[in-house]
């Protein structure tokens, strides 16, 4: 499964189905919704947390959360 955690810096992807019971509402409100574009801007030292752009907004999430968000790479 490809998730946000497996993105390389600069790689763009589209968010696929997200499991509603695990992903918190707050993240959805910040734009983490199926079909929206996500890309990895930078990783923190030690590769965690991840600095991402979702739907035009910049935010940081931990790797453990990123692993739960399935994406589809944009070629």
């Amino acid at each position: 499964m490809i998730t946000i955690a497996s993105l390389k810096v600069g790689q763009h992807a589209l968010i696929k189905e997200i499991s509603i019971d695990i992903i918190p509402l707050k993240l959805l409100e910040m734009g983490c919704l199926p079909g929206n574009e996500v890309f990895l801007l930078q990783t923190a030292p030690f590769k965690d947390p991840l600095f991402i752009n979702i739907n035009g907004c910049t935010m940081a999430i931990r790797k453990e959360m990123a692993k739960l968000i399935e994406v589809e790479l944009i070629p």
Binding site: E29, F46, N55
Partner: protein, 699 residues
């Protein structure tokens, strides 16, 4: 009488809502708390055309009307309660032009409550540079409201905004989204159960309990035949609502906003490449910290010395000018030194808040959170604990409140428990005066002052103690980690001097008024206790004269003997002597013991207390520092404040939990007495043991 209307400012965090508030109200604002909770309440007013007066309320930043924290809940409580005296006649949603999509989510929710809502798009000055263009007319049409482009940096658009507020009654209150689209069947049942209520409002009331836990208010009375939905189903519906709203917003923005991505590349990512670089990021962060501490010690010394000297002169002047008597003594020996003990902190506190607000305003603070998260997690903390730990250098009270945005309860609790170990500004005057007494005024390599370095070591000690205790607590506390971590990484901004200035003034004012009252009251109580006493106190003159009659002393020496005899036999002297056996192993005399005791009300009382105790009975008005330097240890005959006792005192202050207000805030934030009590005893015992070891080794 001008007609008054209520205006509420609402918006996502980092949209510059507070600068809009400052721009509208100027200094006509006051900051308080919402009743019963410690969420800051900012109110002000502004005059509008046609003799209208707008009472403006700056509500806490929130991403939606689905509250997860006390701060966010304030927004919803107000919007759901038409009877609240602050209920807005009109809401201004402040949005940031670069995050319009996300900002509109909140906008549509508020609009759907049927409240007239103006959309103020802030940072409009950035549009050209970021190659963003918005079709305002069309957007107004789609959202059925009035939109104004503003820039608090360039001060544009505010006249138009005021004009819109004045004409608020013309705004449409048609909802953006039909609430029952979320789940027609469920909303139909709701409508039948509560025929007279606004459906969307009802829905928010129901979900508020889901998001935020049970609230203390009248529960909704569902008819007995109403089938309530399970929590997980309600959550699902909330998510569906969010998705529907985004569909609506995306559809609209597709037709009204244009972002030229080719031109959008800018400085931001270049800055981030350096500021959160795996080496440079840390080097820059620690250099900034070092700059702050070195600067505070060096820069604030001058105004502080000045204040100290001025108050000494004032006390002297009062003694000379006013007729002799109890009142003059109270003023010169109780009130003035007490006041001096408050005023003298102003330079440092102002500097600290200045630096902290600059770090926050520029957007750098969230980079620090990002940089530190992984490291902090090893110690059971969150990257977000950096904010409380750094602002703890100003005051533990706002710092502990800043821990609210930490999602995991365990990480948050640990942060709350260890934050009081960071060196707060109330410790600073104690440190400064002790350091200047016991550490030589040398410079290493001609640059770093030895005293400044000592101060920095104390800050580092505070931080390391906090981190180390967090690590232990993480192992000891059996609480499961819950919650998730997300932080917005706002774009870098040049801070607005006006915002920084207001913030510094406001925070300093709160400190001076809050702590000032306690300090002043304690100084007066201390003066009374030091100036009166039972039995022997009143016959001091006779007793001392008898005792010294054979020694052939000068009149002056006899007066000094009488004064010190009086002090020892005053109420405070008796109290101090009683506790002296406890503090003697730490290298303190009974006077310091009293100062330690009174410090439990607030640490900054220490200097004032010593000033009051030493000035009672002394003839000359001296600066506080000179008086302390002149104190002699009665047993050893050496200066009382020497290296060993000084270090011991510094350590005691570094660790002891000596602030009642902090304990009160911990009780409130953890909702139990267990944690503050536990914190008080463990920290104070650590302090005693550390001082004991230090003094016994160094003496």
């Amino acid at each position: 009488m001008a007609r008054e209307i209520n205006v509420a400012l609402i918006g996502n965090p980092n949209t510059g809502k507070t600068s809009v508030f400052n721009q509208l109200t100027g200094l006509k604002q006051k900051v308080g708390n919402y009743p019963g909770i410690t969420v800051e309440k900012k109110q002000g007013y502004c005059l509008l055309p046609r003799g209208l007066k707008a009472n403006i309320l700056d509500l806490p930043g929130t991403y939606s009307l689905n509250a997860c924290s006390m701060d966010e809940n304030v927004v919803i409580e107000l919007l759901l309660n038409k009877n609240d005296k602050d209920f807005p006649d009109v809401v201004i949603v402040v949005a940031d032009v670069e995050n319009l999509k996300r900002n509109l989510l909140l906008f549509t929710q508020i609009k759907d409550l049927g409240i007239p809502t103006i959309l103020a798009i802030n940072m409009a000055d950035q549009m050209a540079r970021k190659a963003i263009s918005v079709d305002i007319k069309k957007l107004e049409e789609k959202l059925q409201t009035k939109i104004v482009l503003i820039s608090s940096r360039k001060n544009t658009g505010f006249e138009q905004l005021k004009e819109l507020i004045t004409n608020y009654s013309l705004l449409s209150t048609t909802p953006c989204l039909n609430a029952s689209d979320i789940d027609p069947e469920y909303f139909n049942r709701l409508r039948k159960a509560f025929p007279n209520q606004d459906l969307y409002k009802l829905w928010l009331v129901i979900t508020q309990d889901v998001n935020f836990g049970k609230l203390n208010r009248q529960p909704l009375l569902f008819p007995s035949d109403f089938k309530t939905e399970s929590t997980s189903n309600l959550k699902r519906l909330q998510q569906k609502e969010t998705i529907l709203r985004y569909l609506f917003i995306n559809e609209i923005l597709k037709k009204t906003i244009l972002i030229d991505k080719v031109n959008a590349k800018d400085l931001q990512s270049k800055l981030d490449k350096i500021l959160i670089h795996k080496y440079w990021g840390y080097i820059i962060f620690f250099s900034i910290l070092m700059l702050i501490f070195q600067a505070i010690f060096d820069w604030s010394r001058y105004p502080m010395d000045f204040i100290d000297v001025q108050f000494a002169a004032l006390g002297e002047w009062i003694k000379v000018t006013l007729p002799e008597g109890v009142f003059t003594n109270l003023l010169a020996e109780g009130v003035i030194p007490g006041l001096a003990g408050v005023i003298i902190f102003i330079p440092q506190i102002a500097f600290l808040f200045l630096f902290i607000s600059i770090l926050e305003e520029t957007g750098y603070m969230s980079r620090v959170v990002f940089l530190m998260d992984k490291i902090m997690r090893r110690f059971g903390l969150s990257g977000k604990s950096v904010v409380p730990l750094v602002s703890g250098t100003a005051c533990a009270i706002p710092a502990i409140m800043a821990a609210r945005n930490i999602e995991s309860w365990k990480e948050r609790l640990i942060t709350i428990l260890v934050t009081p170990l960071t060196t707060c500004s109330a410790r600073l005057p104690v440190y400064l005066i002790i350091i200047s007494l016991v550490i030589p005024d040398h410079r290493i390599l001609g640059v770093f002052s030895l005293q400044g370095l000592t101060l920095m070591l104390l800050y580092l000690l505070g931080f390391s103690a906090a981190i180390f205790s967090a690590y232990l607590l993480d192992k000891i506390l059996l609480i499961k980690k819950t919650g998730f971590f997300v932080i917005e990484m706002p774009h870098y901004k040049l801070p607005l001097p006006k915002n920084i200035l207001y913030n510094v003034i406001e925070k300093t004012k709160l400190f001076v008024l809050g702590a000032g009252k306690i300090i002043l009251a304690i100084s007066i109580v201390l003066w009374v206790m030091a100036s009166f006493g039972p039995g022997k106190f009143n016959e001091a003159t006779t007793i001392v004269r008898e005792k010294t009659s054979s020694q052939n002393l000068s009149e002056e020496a006899i007066d000094a003997e009488i004064a010190s005899f009086k002090l020892e036999n005053s109420y405070i002297g008796i109290m101090g002597k009683t506790i002296e056996p406890i503090v003697r192993p730490l290298g303190f005399d009974w006077k310091i013991g009293i100062a330690l005791l009174s410090s439990f009300a607030a640490r900054e009382v220490f200097v004032g207390t010593l000033a009051t105790i030493y000035s009672v009975g002394s003839k000359e008005e001296e600066t506080i520092k000179n008086r302390m330097a002149a104190e002699i240890n009665p047993v050893l005959g050496t200066p009382l404040f020497n290296f060993a006792s000084g270090i011991s005192l510094l350590l005691f202050y570094a660790f002891a939990m000596q602030c009642m207000s902090t304990l009160a805030i911990v009780k409130q934030e953890t909702n139990s007495w267990k944690w503050p009590i536990w914190q008080f005893f463990s920290l104070t015992s650590i302090a005693y043991i550390a001082s004991l070891i230090a003094y016994q080794l160094l003496k």
